[in-house]
Symmetry: C2
Subunit: 402 residues, 2 copies
């Protein structure tokens, strides 16, 4: 078996944890498997680097930022190589240059293009554990890029796909995927398995277990994932194409507080205006989420949408710069909001799911600001202060507890 | 003019110093010059990385150590790029991969083989200040290597040679090259210029201003160096082929406490035994310095030599392993010793220089343990506790003070 194992920053935050991860990988290695380990930067390393960078330059060039941040994972993999060596196991660390982890040039949120597996295969043939930097890549110029949020998961899935791995294990600080965040809903239940599509909705909605990019990639290449804890040996949650037949209507409830709402007001009621707004944002690599278009005063339109809080400044810049192009009269920003969502493949065949969700919120006196739905998901935007309570109310309404 | 400027770790130890360096480089840039900056790792970064590495593995694999240490310079150059950007100057940081700084595979003490200057020239043509990681390279496998002691100086000189730079400025925390270490001899005098050969002897003897590798490289490629302070704008010391005609007999006095003495005793008095000893050490990349061979008991020989303290463990391992091959009866290690040297191109034409040096030591009651000479240098090994006093006595004897 060829196993790709990915460990996040908290799993390698200090010497003891580094050795825990090393031992876990060595178990698989000693059982006769080829082992590829993908690591994130240790604990707070990335935050410390960002803080220093911002103290030097409040808006550091993105290329230099990636040059800087890439050191975090390089430290992790080198330390892991040393730890495995001290346990008597041959291991080698490799960075983005060494595995030719090619990406495009979107610094800070680069997209993977190709991986050259030759070096990795050679090292595996020499019976080494291969330890690879997550999160980073190189572009056509050989400049370092970083993949952005969920980057290390994405690296792991891409490696699993490129190496035709037999398993791809994502280790995190939770046991698996739950019906809701156990910190918000204490009696949330762990799901033994979940489909890519459901996971995708949960991931993109802030369940924080897996990032949507990694799930999308896994779905695209049919990489079966296991999400499990680096702190215990409990069975995790399997993420795969078709989960079990008899399914619940709703698999889980998720909330996401990394949300800001921007409203562009007084836009001319002409075709193509919304396209211009979202096209300008897309060109700056800003992901827009829920979109609401409503009729404004004097025959104009208001266009509201949500973005991740991190993208807010950049999004506002775009709106400001292009106000004239959008024929807009003004804009508003609201930051104290959150998204709450339910996800479930069973929804499609069960009417009344939305009604039950809205009913639960209404009974709790929680105001819904925006609504968005897909085949397997319903999302509402509420005040941030109501978000946790909304999750608990909905979790109860759908009887998701243990 | 194309100017290569190298700044050491203390010059970029914090935000304020990073900006000082940035401003200094920008002055040259604004005066119309092409500027290439070579940086070491910030302040204690390297020490911190080494400490953590040793806590994980007391003898970390050298390849992984270099993978780890290379992050230090990458951080420096990225921060510098951000600092220059915040001052409105276009700049770009490049690491060893990006400038294809090829070395051999002697991890921890790699030798430079070639540099591809295309990327650097392209960036200079785009009117950017180019900031390059010192100290590191890549080998044939694309694995990271580090150059060891004096590595960043060597990088700077190699870049100056490859780019046919008009000047190569080595910034340090002293004003230039002195007749002795001013911390030991307060009235030591700064030399306006010095020849490569003299500098080479001073560097290899612990003057700590420039490492011998960088001076050797400068000599080989005719790169004229300026050693000056990053803390003030005083004129430094020029290091070049032929220094001024009318020269002093002795240019300077240097001491080196990073010395240990190993004696291999009772070696058979056969040809080739000394060769075997030093060949074994060379194969482990251990530099042997002063060698003394003397007659031991029963017709055998004793071979004593000095190594850098850092290499002592490795050297002792070699001696232990190969005792039989050397036909040796035992070995001794002495660590409390130091080298004290005088250097001067004028020595060759002035007899009695050695006598004057030994006389000064004798008058001070300092015992000489070993002696070694070259055309322009005389070195003695003394007790470490006597080293500073020896330097002062000799400095006085040759009237080197201001």
């Amino acid at each position: 078996m060829l196993i790709v194992k990915k460990f996040g920053g908290s799993s390698v935050a200090n010497k003891e944890r580094i050795f825990n991860v090393a031992k876990r990988c060595i178990e698989d290695y000693k059982a006769g498997n080829d082992v590829v380990v993908v690591l994130s930067a240790m604990g707070d390393t990335t935050d410390d680097l960002i803080d220093m960078a911002h103290s030097i330059n409040p808006r550091p060039p993105k290329r230099e930022m990636d040059m800087l941040l890439a050191v975090g994972e390089q430290m992790s993999v080198a330390y892991m190589g040393m730890a495995m060596d001290s346990l008597g196991i041959p291991a080698i660390s490799l960075n983005a240059f060494q595995v030719k982890m090619h990406t495009n040039s979107s610094y800070g949120s680069a997209k993977l293009k190709s991986i050259d597996t030759e070096r990795i295969r050679n090292e595996l043939e020499m019976h080494k554990i291969v330890i690879i930097t997550g999160f980073q890549g190189i572009n056509r110029m050989d400049d370092l890029t970083t993949l952005g949020r969920g980057g290390s998961d994405t690296t792991a899935v891409a490696l699993a796909a490129a190496l035709h791995a037999d398993a791809c294990e994502i280790y995190t600080d939770v046991d698996g995927v739950y019906t809701a965040d156990p910190r918000i809903v204490p009696n949330a239940r762990k799901l033994p398995e979940i489909s890519y599509s459901e996971m995708l909705e949960l991931a993109s909605l802030g369940a924080k277990v897996l990032h949507n990019r990694s799930v999308e990639l896994a779905k695209k290449y049919g990489v079966q994932l296991v999400v499990r804890s680096s702190l215990n040996t409990n069975e995790g949650t399997v993420v795969k194409e078709a989960a079990r037949m008899e399914r619940m209507i709703v698999s889980g409830v998720a909330s996401d507080k990394n949300v800001a709402r921007i409203s562009v007001m007084g836009v001319e009621n002409e075709p193509g205006v919304a396209f211009k707004v979202f096209n300008s944002l897309a060109r700056k690599n800003i992901n827009v989420d829920i979109i609401l278009q409503s009729v404004g005063r004097e025959g104009t339109k208001d266009i509201a949408f949500t973005v991740a809080k991190d993208d807010l400044d950049a999004a506002v810049d775009v709106i400001k710069d292009d106000m004239k192009i959008f024929t807009a009269k003004g804009y508003e920003v609201e930051t104290g909001v959150a998204k709450v969502s339910i996800v479930g493949a069973g929804m499609t065949s069960h009417p009344g799911v939305a009604a039950k969700m809205f009913g639960a919120l209404s009974a709790g006196g929680i105001n819904i600001k925006m609504i968005s739905t897909s085949e397997i998901r319903i999302t509402v935007v509420v005040d941030e202060k109501d978000a946790d309570r909304a999750v608990r109310l909905i979790h109860d309404a759908f009887d998701l507890a243990d």
